[in-house]
Structures are given as C-alpha cells and as structure tokens.
C-alpha cells in the first residue's frame, strides 16, 4: 500500500515537472524613450493572442506560454494607448533571460506638436485670450471684438472709440494684427460722434483673440505699447446664415462649408442714419447723417496636404455729415472714406517645421471738408512677412523671420494760413505731401518650458538697412516669464524695449520713430466662479512731439459668478501718466486717477437677459488759455495758451449703459430681439472745450448723450 502511494507521489511529481518544464516563461521590463516605466501595457502573442499579459506598475511583465511548440515563428506584441505597437520576433531574441522593451509615442501623438505649432508661440504671455464665444458673451460689447477689449481694465481709452488704447499709451503705438498682418485703423465710422463705434471685425470669422496690453511679443513688429492678435477660424463647424436689422443697420452673414477642409464666409452691412437720428433727436443736433456700406469675405482651404491658404478681404465706403467745433469756428464737417484691405496667409508644415508667408494690402482714400479746410488723404500699404518656426520638443520652440512694411501716404490739403481762422472765407493755402517708406525687420523668438509650471520667452527684433531706408537703427528686446502654480494661479513678469514707426496723418505728416521701455508684473487667478487679475506696470515712452511720457499703473479686476444667473465684475485702474522732458514733467491728458467699471449680468433665458455697466473716471486734463489776441486781417482771435500745460481737468466721466435681449425659437431658426440704452442717466460728460469768438467764455462739448438702440437678428441653420 505504502509502495503504491509512493509511486503515485513520484508519478504526480514527475508529471508536475513535465508540465512545468513545458511552460515557457518570458520576463521583461517596458519603458518609454525617456526611461519611464510603462505599466499596464498589453503583451501578447500575435498568432495566439489569447496568450497575453499586462505589465505591472513598475513596468515588469511576465508571460507564460504553456506550449513551447507554438513559439516558433511567433511574435510578441506590446501595445498601449498613445504608443506605437511593438512587434518582437521571438526567434530573434533570447527570451530565456529578462529583456528590456522600449516603446515610442505614436505618430499621431507627435502630430499634436504640429497642431501646437499652428498656435502663436507667444500666446502664454498674453493676459487675455478671447475666443468667439467669449466675445459674444462679453457684456455690452455688442459682439464687437474691439469693444470687448474696451471693457478690460487695461483699456485706458478716454475717447469712446474702438481704436485700442492700452495702459495709458496712445493709439498710434498700439497695433491690431489679423493673422499676423497689421491692420491700420481697425475702426469704421470713427469720426462719427454720438453713436458709438464699430470695429472692422466680424466675430463670426474669429477663432481667437490674444490681448497683450503691454510688452507686445516681438514676433510682430512696429508696436511700442500693446497689441491685439486676432486669428481667424481654421475650421467651420456648421453652415450658418444670419440676417440682422436695427435702427441703423441691416446686415447679412453667411458661413458655408465647401468641403471638410475648406469654407467661405461672406458678410455685408448697410448702415444708415435716419432711424437712429429720429429716435434720438438730441444727437440729431450735432450729427446730421452717416452712412456706411461694407462687404467682407474670408476663404480658407487646405490646398494640398500640409499647405493651407486663408484669404480675407474687406471693403468699406463710409460718409458722415456733422456739426463740428474747431477753435471758435462752428460749421458742418463732411467726411468720406473708401477703403479696401486684404490679408493672405499661406502656411506649410511638415514634421516639426512650420513656415508661413503672410501678406497684407491696405488702400484707402479719405476726404474731409470743414470751413476753409479740404483734405484728401491717400494711403497705400503693403506688408510681407516670412516666418519659420521649429519645435524642438514640447518644451522648446523657436521662431524667426523677416518682414517689410511699405507705406505710401499722399496728402492733398488746403489748410488755414492762420490755424485758428477756419471760416470758408479765411485764407488758406495748398499743402501737398507725398511720403514713402519701407520698414524691413528681422526677428527671433524663443519659448522654453523648462518645467511644467514655468515658461520663459525671449525675443529680439532689429531693423535691416535694406531698400534704401532712412530709418534710424534700433533693436527691440524682450523677455517674459510665466509661473503657473496651485492649478489656478499665474504670475507673469515681462520687461522689454520696443520701437515703432508711426503712420503719417493729416495732423502729423511724417514717419516718426517712437520707443518705449516697459516692465510689467501680473497676477492671474482663475476658477470656475471667480477671476482675479492684478497688474502693475511702468513705461517710459519717447519720440512723441508732445514730449516723453512716463506711465505708472495698477490694475485690479474681480469677476464673480454670484449664482447661475447672476454675474458681477468690478475693475479699477489707477493711472499716473506724465509728459514733458526730464527737467519738467506735466500731467498727461489721460493722467486719470481711476477708471472704475462695474458690471452686473443677469442671465435668465426664460425671461430676459440683462447687462448693466457703470463706468466712471476722473476727467481728462487740458491746457487753459491765458488770453487772446485779435487779428483784424482775418477777424479771428489768436488763442494764447497758459504756460501751465494740462493744468485744468474736465469734470468726472460717468455713464451707465444697459442692454437687454430675448430670443425666440422658430423651428430650427432663432430670432433675437435686443435693445440697449447708452448713458441711461443722460450724464453730461465733458469731452472738449468750446470757446466763444474772443475766447472769453467757455462751454463744453460732451461725450455721447443718452441714446436708444434696438433691433433683431434672424439666424438660420
């Protein structure tokens, strides 16, 4: 009995040994190219894929193959999300000892870098990024991109125009770029007082808008204050057709897909004054009529693989007729402008290389008539830039390029002999000017992300002595550092020296070199419910005819979602702006102690959406007159200004704006009705001084009085 048991045990152990010896165990370790362990990777046989295993948390795997016969000609496959599958011929390796497997990220994952390459290299140093939806949802911006910027604390615009003025600098230092091409004077109807303003950009075309209120990235040139970088759509999600009608405009906008990779957008507006002026008779006293017709087209296409073309063209014709006060002359002023500008972008990318060719043209003619002044300005601008970006890795990008901005400005002017005598009978003389210039530049920009939370940028831009230019030599330099921490907070530090050449206009007929040194520190806090932005900056600007300017500013912005339907924000900018020479500084015109803006937005689609904003600031400074001298030859008085420059201040600016809207759905279409009241309390906010004939008494011209605007828009899908 004992012997039988023993035999059984021996037979059992032997059989176990046979089974054991037949099983092949393959062991190894899996990592990526950086040496990080890859856990939970599938490891299985290609032909017998039910035999498999998964790597453990340290990247180790063990695969048991029960039948050694199947191993001949078999491949061991490793696969994992985001990595190229790896196939190892088992006949070619010694699998009896543990071996190492290195997996590489798949090409599609690497293509992410190419997608990254399409984006602006400097975007992480922008303090505000607004996509189309944010523009639409910006309270009281009326879906106008540049109006949305005017609501930011960094906007220190004191003139109720859409031309951006950022952090105390004048508009001629700030540039708006569309797809990398500068857009001169991005506003239409800028000469019309009393009905607000309209930028040239249709939000339907916009993908992203980056705001750099100071320290503009040196991948773009010719700006020494801030800049706005607008990118148009690269992909159209849906066809969309809109028809709008309001007190002053009718418009259409159609966005149509041509294929998966191409689309076209077309829009146009007719602006007229009759309806608006009859509803707002108070404004009618100054503004007699205004008209504008515009048409825009945007075409996007991937011509061949990796090559995309975007073409944008915009034409506008506008005119206005209003009462104007200049010195002591009050008369009708007529203006008319026709303009066409286009932007073309050709982009090519392959692997980590990204090349773009950007071209822009701008042709315009402006006529202006007032008293004894007649002015015809003709403007031709051509812009060209070639840019190359290389993405070493997701941590390091470089970009370099060349650009040239050609300007041809002609002025055919009849101007007063005595600048203060403007009646049609007062003497005038012909003054024609033709100015041409090229501004060739080269630049380099490096963006490095040494750690996940730190991003460093460095840029330089230099003029080139080509094309027989007479521009002074200059070098612009900048560095930016961004530190992201605690998931919701960022600190941003920027410092730099910047240069730009102004465009001539009828009051300053020259290309003038402006420079600025800037330093800024920003703090950004962003959660779902609350946003806080703080900024402190210092700027020293030189080159303007009025002298050098020193600007110190501090901004605070707090936005909070009180409930799902109620959102409030408050912002304030403390601005200290002085002009003059090193010996003596004066208050700058915009040395405004505070710019306070408070908004409240109530969102209840079932009932009504309401936005209200209260803006208040100290008045601007102006230089008073000390006396006047009579000139009997022209029967006008010569104003004699006080030596105390900008020693008087206008009264405080105060306005409350209200906007209401409601949508109705009809099948797949929607109809929106909207209304807005500007300056609800009809506050009289002084804008400029109006003198009597001998300058002995003064009254004021005011910013926009109370006005009502309403309309509707039909959207079809």
């Amino acid at each position: 009995m004992y012997t039988i048991k023993l035999i059984n045990v021996i037979v059992f152990l032997y059989s176990v040994n046979i089974v054991y010896s037949q099983t092949i165990i393959i062991k190894g370790h899996i990592s990526d190219k950086q040496g990080s362990n890859l856990c939970f990777v599938n490891a299985y046989l290609l032909k017998h894929n039910k035999i498999g295993s998964v790597s453990d948390i340290d990247g180790n795997f063990t695969l048991k193959i029960p039948d050694p016969k199947i191993i001949k000609g078999e491949n061991l496959v490793f696969s994992f999300i985001g990595y190229e599958p790896l196939k190892i011929d088992l006949d070619s390796i010694n699998y009896s000892v543990p071996f190492n497997v290195i997996m590489t990220e798949n090409i599609q994952a690497l293509n992410e870098i190419v997608v990254e390459g399409r984006k602006s290299i400097s975007r992480e140093f922008s303090i505000k990024e607004m996509d189309k939806l944010k523009i639409y949802f910006s309270p009281l911006a009326s879906a106008d991109p540049l109006k949305a910027i005017a609501m930011l604390p960094s906007s220190t615009n004191t003139s109720e125009t859409a031309n951006p003025e950022l952090r105390g600098s004048s508009a001629n230092r700030t540039k708006v770029f569309l797809n990398g091409v500068p857009v001169s004077n991005p506003v239409r109807n800028s000469q019309i007082n009393g009905i607000g303003f309209f930028s040239l950009f249709n939000p339907e075309l916009i993908k992203n808008m980056f705001v750099y209120p100071s320290n503009p990235p040196l991948i773009y040139g010719n700006t020494s204050a801030g800049m706005i970088d607008i990118e148009t759509e690269e992909k159209l999600e849906n066809n969309n057709y809109q028809i709008s009608a309001s007190l002053a405009t009718t418009g259409i906008c159609a966005s149509q897909k041509i294929s998966e990779k191409s689309f076209i957008q077309l829009y146009g507006n007719l602006m007229f004054s009759n309806g608006f002026l009859s509803v707002n008779p108070e404004i009618n006293k100054q503004l007699k009529s205004f008209n504008s017709n515009d048409i825009g087209l945007n075409y996007h296409n991937e011509i061949i693989k990796n090559v995309t073309l975007n073409f944008y063209n915009y034409s506008v014709s506008e005119s206005s007729d209003l009462l104007l006060n200049l010195f002591t002359w009050n008369d009708k002023a007529k203006s008319k402008t026709i303009r066409d500008f286009s932007v073309m972008n050709l982009q090519y990318h392959k692997s980590k290389n990204y090349i773009s060719l950007n071209t822009g043209t701008n042709f315009s003619r402006s006529d202006f008539y007032f008293g004894n002044i007649s002015s015809v300005g003709k403007q031709q601008q051509i812009y060209l830039s070639l840019n190359y970006k290389y993405l070493f890795s997701e941590k390091l990008y470089i970009q370099t390029g060349l650009s040239n901005e050609y300007g041809n400005f002609g002025f055919i002017d009849k101007v007063p002999v005595f600048y203060y005598a403007m009646s049609p009978k007062s003497p005038s003389y012909q003054h024609d000017t033709l100015l041409k210039n090229n501004l060739p530049e080269t630049y380099g920009y490096l963006r490095w992300k040494p750690f996940k939370s730190i991003i460093w940028g460095f840029g330089l831009r230099k003029n080139i002595n080509l094309l027989q230019t007479k521009n002074p030599d200059y070098l612009s330099l900048q560095t930016n550092l961004r530190y992201n921490f605690m998931n919701s907070q960022s600190l941003l530090f920027s410092i730099g020296k910047y240069n730009n050449l102004t465009e001539p206009n009828s009051s300053l007929e020259e290309f003038r070199m402006l420079s600025a040194n800037q330093i800024a520190i920003e703090y950004l806090f962003e959660t779902k419910k609350t946003n806080v932005n703080l900024a402190a900056y210092y700027k020293s600007e030189t080159g303007e005819t009025i002298g050098n300017r020193k600007i110190k500013g501090f901004e605070v912005y707090i936005e909070h979602n009180i409930s799902r339907t109620l959102k409030a924000s408050i912002s304030n900018t403390i601005l200290n702006s002085d002009i003059g020479s090193n010996e003596k500084l004066y208050n700058a015109e915009n040395n405004v102690g505070y710019f306070l803006v408070t908004t409240l937005n109530y969102f209840n689609p079932k009932l009504l959406n309401v936005s209200v904003a209260w803006s208040t600031r100290q008045g601007r400074f102006y230089t008073p007159l000390s006396s006047s001298i009579y000139n009997p030859n022209v029967d006008f008085y010569l104003p004699v200004y006080s030596e105390s420059i900008n020693s008087k201040r206008f009264g405080n600016y105060n306005t409350i704006n209200l906007s209401l809207n409601k949508m109705f759905t009809i099948h797949k279409s929607s109809l929106i009705v909207f209304a807005s009241i500007f300056n609800v309390l009809d506050s009289k906010n002084p804008k400029s001084v109006i003198y009597n004939k001998d300058y002995t008494s003064i009254t004021f011209d005011y910013y926009q009085k109370r006005s009502i605007y309403f309309g509707c828009m039909l959207s079809l899908k």
């Binding site: 599938n42 948390i57 994952a109 996509d131 944010k134 009326s142 949508m663 929607s670």
Partner: protein, 276 residues
C-alpha cells in the same frame, strides 16, 4: 452682428436643461434596478486584491452600493486607495481611474442633492486629468465626459464655452485614436443634447453608430477603460425612438439586448418599443 450674444445665451439655456437630465444616466429607481440586474457580487475593496484589476467594475460597484446605502464611503475608499498607489501623482493610468471614480462620486452626491460637494469632487477629477503631462486618447475622452457633467454647475454664460471644450477634447481623443469608442460616445451625447439652433442633433446618430461598431478595447486589459458601448446603444435607440424611426430602433435594440442582457437602461427601452 450686434447682440448675437442673445442667440447663444438662449440656445444654451435649452442645452443646459436637457443636459442636466442627460448626463446622469441613472435615476434613483433605476439605480435599484441596476443593482438587481447586476449579476456579479458587489465587492468591497479588498486590500489583498490589486486595486486596479477590473477597476472600472469596482467603481461602478461602489457607486451602486453607495446609492443603495446612501453613503459615498465606497467611492471615497477607492479614491484613497488609488491615491495611495500613486503618491507622486505621476501615473497617468492611476490618475485616469481616480478621476473616473470622482466622476461617479460626483453623480452620487448630485443624486443625494449635495451639490456643492458634487461640484467640488468633479472639479478635483477634472483638475487631476488636466494635469496629466501627456494626455492620451482615453484621458481626453474621460475629460470630455466630465466636462459635460460640469455643465450642471456652470453659470449660463459659461455653458457655450464648456460645450465647445467637450467637443474639442473628444475630437482630440479621436485624432489620437480613431478607434476610441468612448470619444465617439461623448461626441454623440454632446450632439444629442445640443439644441438644433446651435447645430446639435445632426451628428449624434453617426457618432453613436460608429461607437457601437468599435471594440470596447483593442486588446482585453483589465486595467484599462472599456465603458461606453452600452450607453451608446441606449442613446442610439433613444434617438431613433425620438425620430419615430421604430424599425431602426428595434434593430439596434435586438443587437444591444443580445450584448447586454442585464443592462437596465436598455431593458427599459423595450417598454417604449412594445407598441411599435
């Protein structure tokens, strides 16, 4: 151009109302039914077991248990266990499952009307996912799913942006892996609840149809996600019922019930199809 703001405001209000219902797949009654139809025994976290094996099932078990017991302890324990596994917060797969647990935890708290806690845990899950250094296709699909749930707690003004982010992340997930059915499911769900005025409702059928044709996983791996296909079936059938295309609805119901005979939500659809 002026005041288009309103269009988007209002369109998304409809989206908001629908999505509140849409994101929570299970009502209170349904949870109980799921529990009854759940064939496997509900497991607690066994410290001797490797937490990550069949983690998806464990999360669902903890969620169902939590609903029955009206306690989130099971999910909290799972979250803690996952955090303990990866104290440095560097392992992308563990972060994935931690966020996935947060997603169900958030839904559980939402059902219990603890909205503040629900929002907080959802935000935590989203934040952890966003911080993964190399987001893969599965991370992005889950992120899109969680962002779509976050619409519950967003103010009306923010909803369009979240809606857009959901779409972008799901599309990105597909760029990285065109066979990821979960990305198709999230895209379909997003489109399903988006109002027609904003282009919604046009592509849901095609997204769900793609999702159901794909495998749960390319290779069966108990550590990786396999969710989404049953939900895609359910929503596809519901879509056909809504459009009164009952023949199609029945066809997909037959497929679904064969694959998921115990899925309460799919079983429930049979009642709606009975009369057609």
């Amino acid at each position: 151009m002026i005041m288009k703001t309103t269009l988007i405001y209002l369109v998304f209000s409809i989206f908001l109302m629908n999505s509140i219902k849409g994101n929570i797949r299970y009502s209170e009654k349904e949870i109980i039914a799921i529990k009854e139809s759940h064939s496997g025994s509900l497991k607690s976290i066994d410290q001797n077991d490797t937490v990550l094996i069949n983690i998806q099932e464990k999360v669902l078990d903890a969620f169902v248990n939590g609903k029955i017991s009206r306690s989130d302890k099971g999910l909290v324990d799972l979250e803690q266990a996952l955090l303990n596994l990866d104290k440095n917060n560097k392992n992308g797969i563990i972060i994935y499952w931690y966020s996935y647990t947060c997603y169900y935890h958030s839904i559980l708290l939402m059902i219990e009307k603890e909205n503040k806690s629900s929002e907080k845990i959802l935000d935590e899950g989203i934040m952890q996912l966003e911080n993964v250094s190399n987001l893969n296709s599965e991370h992005l699909a889950l992120l899109a799913l969680m962002e779509s749930l976050s619409i519950q707690y967003a103010s009306g003004i923010e909803i369009p942006s979240i809606f857009k982010r959901v779409k972008q992340n799901a599309e990105k997930a597909l760029q990285l892996d065109s066979l990821n059915l979960r990305a198709y499911f999230v895209l379909g769900s997003n489109d399903f609840y988006a109002p027609e005025q904003y282009g919604g409702g046009k592509k849901a059928t095609s997204y769900f149809t793609k999702a159901i044709k794909l495998n749960d996983q390319p290779v069966v791996n108990p550590y990786l996600p396999s969710w989404g296909k049953n939900s895609a079936y359910e929503m596809l059938i519901r879509l056909y019922i809504n459009h009164k295309q009952f023949a199609e609805a029945k066809k997909y119901y037959q497929e679904a019930i064969t694959l998921y005979p115990d899925d309460y939500m799919i079983i429930k659809l049979s009642k709606e199809l009975l009369n057609y």
